[in-house]
C-alpha cells in the first residue's frame, strides 16, 4: 500500500502549494516534522540506516488447515506464504508480524528483515492476520480483529513455520517483533507464550502499536472521510488527484515511482496536510475492504455478498468491490465483527469487546514483562491524545519514543535501527 501512497502523494505534492513545513532539522535529524508527511513519504536515502541490500531469503508456504475447503473465488490461494532469512551459523530466531493488510514482504517488512538480519537473527516474516492470504489460509474464525483470536492464529502459524524451518537453521533462542497492528498482536502472542512456552521469547518488540484498536481504527477511518469533504465526495476528490498526477508529470517532464522522485517533487512544493490525511485514510480503507469481503465470503456471506452465493473464478466482483470500498472498519466492527463475537459469547457487551482489544486489558503483564520493549513516535497518527503518556508510563525505560516520525516513518532511520537491534540483542547502547 505504501507504493500506492507514494504514487498518489506525488500530485498532491506539486499541485497544491502552501504549507511551509520544510525540512527543518530535528534532534535526531528526521526530515519530516509533519506527522502525516512522515507517515506517507519514504525516508530519503541520505537519512536511511546502512542495511544489507539483499539478504538470502527462502520463501515457503504453510497449510494450516488441511481440511479447509477454499471457496472457488479464492482459487489462487493455496497456502500461507512466509519467508525465512537464515544465518549461516547458530543464532537467535526472530518472528516478525506485519501491520494491517500487509504481507510478509511489504516494504516495511523488508526494512525490518534487513535490520534484524544485520543484527544476527534468523528472520521469519509473517503476513498480517488481516491480509487476504492469512484470512483464507490461517485464520480459524476468518473474522480478524480480535487480538486474542489473532494471537492464537499467529501462534499456530509460528509453530508450523518453526516445524518447517527447524532443520535448516541452528537456533539458540527466540524473539518476536511486530509493527502497527502486528505490534499489539505481538504483545498478545507473548502473553500466550507465557502459558504455552513453545518459544519462551527472550525479547519482544512492539513497533508503533495502537493502544486501543478501536480508537486507532476510528482515527484512521476519519482521516479519509473528514478530509475529502464526506464520503460522497470521494470520486471527484480522487479524479482531482489523478488529474494532478498528469499535470505534475507534465511539469517535471517525467515521472518515476520512486521515493527519491517524490521527495524531489515534495521539496519543490510541500503537500497539503488535508490530502496526506485522506491518502492515509484511503490506504487503510482499501486494506480493510479487502479484509471485510474476504471474511464475509469465508463465513458464507450475508454482509457484502448474498448468503449461499456461488462465486467462482469468472464471477464479476465489481458490485461487491464498490460496496466494500464504501464500508469503513467501524461499520464492519458494529455490523459484523461485534455481532459475530457476541453471538459466540452471550453476555459480552460491545463496550467489553472494545475494552479487550487494547493494551490496557493486559497492562499488569506489560508492566511486569521486562522482555517487552516499545518503539513509537510522539506524533504517531494512530494514537489518540493521552495514549503516548500511557505507553510511557506503562513501559517506563523500556519505551523508546522519538519526537517525530509519524506512523512507521522512521523504522529505517539509523537511530531507530540502533535502538531496535540494541534492545533485541540485549546490548543496549
Amino acid at each position: 500500500m505504501r507504493r500506492l501512497l507514494l504514487l498518489l502523494a506525488l500530485p498532491l505534492a506539486l499541485a497544491f502549494g502552501g504549507s511551509p513545513a520544510g525540512a527543518a532539522i530535528q534532534p535526531y535529524f528526521y526530515p519530516f516534522v509533519n506527522p502525516y508527511e512522515a507517515t506517507v513519504m519514504d525516508l530519503p536515502a541520505a537519512y536511511v540506516a546502512k542495511l544489507p541490500e539483499e539478504v538470502p531469503t527462502k520463501i515457503f508456504k504453510l497449510t494450516i488447515f488441511p481440511e479447509r475447503k477454499i471457496p472457488d473465488v479464492f482459487w489462487y490461494e493455496d497456502g500461507l506464504v512466509c519467508s525465512l532469512a537464515p544465518q549461516k551459523g547458530k543464532a537467535p530466531l526472530i518472528f516478525v508480524i506485519a501491520g494491517t493488510g500487509s504481507k510478509f514482504n511489504s516494504p516495511t517488512m523488508l526494512k525490518l528483515q534487513r535490520a534484524y538480519y544485520q543484527a544476527g537473527f534468523h528472520v521469519v516474516s509473517i503476513t498480517s492476520p488481516t491480509h487476504m492470504n492469512f484470512v483464507v489460509n490461517a485464520s480459524e474464525s476468518a473474522v480478524p480483529g480480535d487480538v486474542r483470536a489473532d494471537a492464537r492464529d499467529l501462534y499456530r502459524v509460528m509453530q508450523a513455520a518453526w516445524e518447517k524451518v527447524r532443520d535448516d537453521v541452528d537456533v539458540s533462542s527466540f524473539a518476536l517483533a511486530g509493527y502497527s497492528l502486528g505490534g499489539i498482536q505481538a504483545a498478545f502472542v507473548s502473553l500466550l507464550d507465557e502459558e504455552r512456552k513453545n518459544f519462551d521469547f527472550r525479547k519482544v518488540l512492539l513497533l508503533n502499536p495502537p493502544v486501543s484498536l478501536f480508537n486507532s481504527v476510528t482515527a484512521l477511518d476519519r482521516l479519509l472521510v473528514e478530509n475529502i469533504g464526506g464520503e460522497e465526495n470521494f470520486i471527484p476528490w480522487f479524479q482531482t488527484v489523478l488529474y494532478n498526477l498528469a499535470a505534475v508529470s507534465r511539469e517535471m517532464g517525467y515521472m518515476e515511482l520512486t521515493g527519491e522522485f517524490i521527495y524531489k517533487a515534495y521539496k519543490i512544493r510541500p503537500p497539503v496536510e488535508q490530502n496526506l490525511k485522506a491518502l492515509i485514510g484511503l490506504s487503510f480503507r482499501m486494506d480493510s475492504a479487502n479484509m471485510i469481503f474476504t471474511a464475509d465470503v469465508m463465513n458464507g456471506g450475508g454482509y457484502i455478498v448474498p448468503t449461499k452465493a456461488k462465486l467462482n473464478n469468472s464471477t464479476s466482483l465489481t458490485p461487491y468491490a464498490m460496496v466494500a470500498y464504501r464500508t469503513s472498519f467501524v461499520d464492519y466492527f458494529h455490523e459484523y465483527f461485534s455481532p459475530y463475537w457476541r453471538k459466540k459469547e452471550p453476555g459480552l457487551t460491545e463496550q467489553a469487546l472494545i475494552d479487550r482489544l487494547s493494551l490496557r486489558s493486559i497492562e499488569p503483564y506489560l508492566r511486569s514483562a521486562e522482555k517487552i520493549g516499545l518503539l513509537t513516535n510522539e506524533d504517531d497518527v494512530i494514537l489518540v491524545p493521552g495514549e503516548i503518556e500511557y505507553l510511557q508510563q506503562v513501559f517506563g525505560d523500556r519505551a523508546k519514543i522519538f519526537p517525530t516520525g509519524g506512523h512507521l516513518g522512521n523504522l529505517n532511520h539509523p537511530d531507530a535501527v540502533r535502538y531496535m537491534n540494541g534492545f533485541l540483542t540485549g546490548k543496549e547502547l
Binding site: G101, K103, G302, S316, M322, V323
Partner: protein, 255 residues
C-alpha cells in the same frame, strides 16, 4: 513487404477468439434460499453509475477474467521461468544493453505517432534521441540522450486514436500482453503492421532473425514489468487493474 508477421497474426486471431468467448456468465449463482446481504449495493452505492471509477465498460468480462487467469498461469509456468533463466545467464550490464536496444528500435513507433498527432516537440526529441543513441550510443545499446536531458516520449497508435477523440471502447485483457481495450488493441495491431511494413531491420531478407528478435523483445519487456498476477493481496485485483489501466491510458492520451 506487407506480409503479416507472427505478432500481427496472433493479435488478429485473439480478436477473433474474443467474439466467440464473450458469452461466459459473470453473475453469481444464487441458491433458492439465498438471502440478500446486510449491505446491499442498491442501498450503499448512491453515486450515478457513469461516475463510478470501478465501473469500466467490460461487456466481455467473462472472457477477460479467463484471459486474466490464463496470464497468471502463463506467467507462472512459462513466462517468468524464462525471464528468470534469462536474468540468470545474462549479466545485468548486458540486460541493460538489450533493453536500450529495443527502446531505440521502437523509437520508430514514438516517432510516427508523435508526427501523426502533430506534436512537433515530441517528434523533434524522438528524432534527436534516435540520432544520438544510434551513433554515440552505438546502435542504441547505450542511452546518452536521456543523460543529456532528452527523455523518452512514449506515443503509440492507441494514443494517436485517443488524441483524435476515439474513446477506449470495451476493456480487453489480451492473453500474454495483459490489460488493454478495443482502441489500444487496434493501436497495437497498427503499430505492428507499420513496423513490419517499413521493416527498419530488414527482416525481409534476414528472416531467420525475426523470431529471436520478437522472443527476446517479449522477455525483455516482461522483465521490466514488476507486476505479478494475484500478488496485490486484494480480492478486487481484476477491478483495480482495470481501473488503473483505464486511468493510466487516459493520462497518456492527454499527455
Amino acid at each position: 513487404m506487407n506480409k503479416p508477421t507472427n505478432r500481427t497474426l496472433t493479435v488478429a486471431l485473439l480478436l477473433a477468439a474474443l467474439s466467440l468467448l464473450a458469452g461466459c456468465s459473470t453473475v453469481p449463482v444464487l441458491a433458492p434460499d439465498s438471502q440478500a446481504p446486510l449491505r446491499r449495493y442498491e442501498d450503499v452505492v448512491k453515486t450515478p453509475t457513469e461516475q463510478q471509477l470501478l465501473r469500466v465498460s467490460d461487456p466481455i468480462e467473462g472472457f477477460n477474467r479467463g484471459a486474466y487467469r490464463f496470464n497468471y498461469n502463463f506467467d507462472k509456468y512459462l513466462f517468468l521461468p524464462v525471464v528468470k533463466g534469462y536474468r540468470f545467464v545474462m549479466p545485468d550490464y548486458a540486460e541493460q544493453r538489450v533493453s536500450n536496444f529495443y527502446d531505440n528500435i521502437f523509437e520508430f513507433t514514438n516517432f510516427t505517432n508523435s508526427l501523426l498527432q502533430l506534436k512537433w516537440k515530441k517528434t523533434g526529441i524522438t528524432t534527436a534521441r534516435f540520432a544520438i543513441n544510434s551513433t554515440v550510443g552505438i546502435a542504441g545499446l547505450w542511452d546518452p540522450a536521456t543523460k543529456w536531458g532528452l527523455r523518452r516520449q512514449s506515443e503509440d497508435f492507441g494514443q494517436t486514436l485517443g488524441h483524435y477523440g476515439v474513446s477506449n471502447g470495451a476493456y480487453i485483457v489480451l492473453p500474454v500482453a495483459g490489460p488493454s481495450n478495443v482502441r489500444d488493441t487496434t493501436g497495437l495491431v497498427v503499430d505492428s503492421v507499420a513496423f513490419n511494413t517499413v521493416d527498419p531491420l530488414n527482416f525481409d531478407s534476414n528472416q531467420e532473425w525475426e523470431a529471436p528478435f520478437n522472443a527476446l523483445y517479449a522477455v525483455d519487456k516482461r522483465k521490466r514489468i514488476p507486476f505479478r498476477y494475484y500478488d496485490t493481496g486484494s480480492p478486487f485485483e481484476y477491478e483495480l487493474v482495470r481501473m488503473l489501466n483505464t486511468q493510466y491510458r487516459a493520462f497518456q492520451v492527454a499527455d
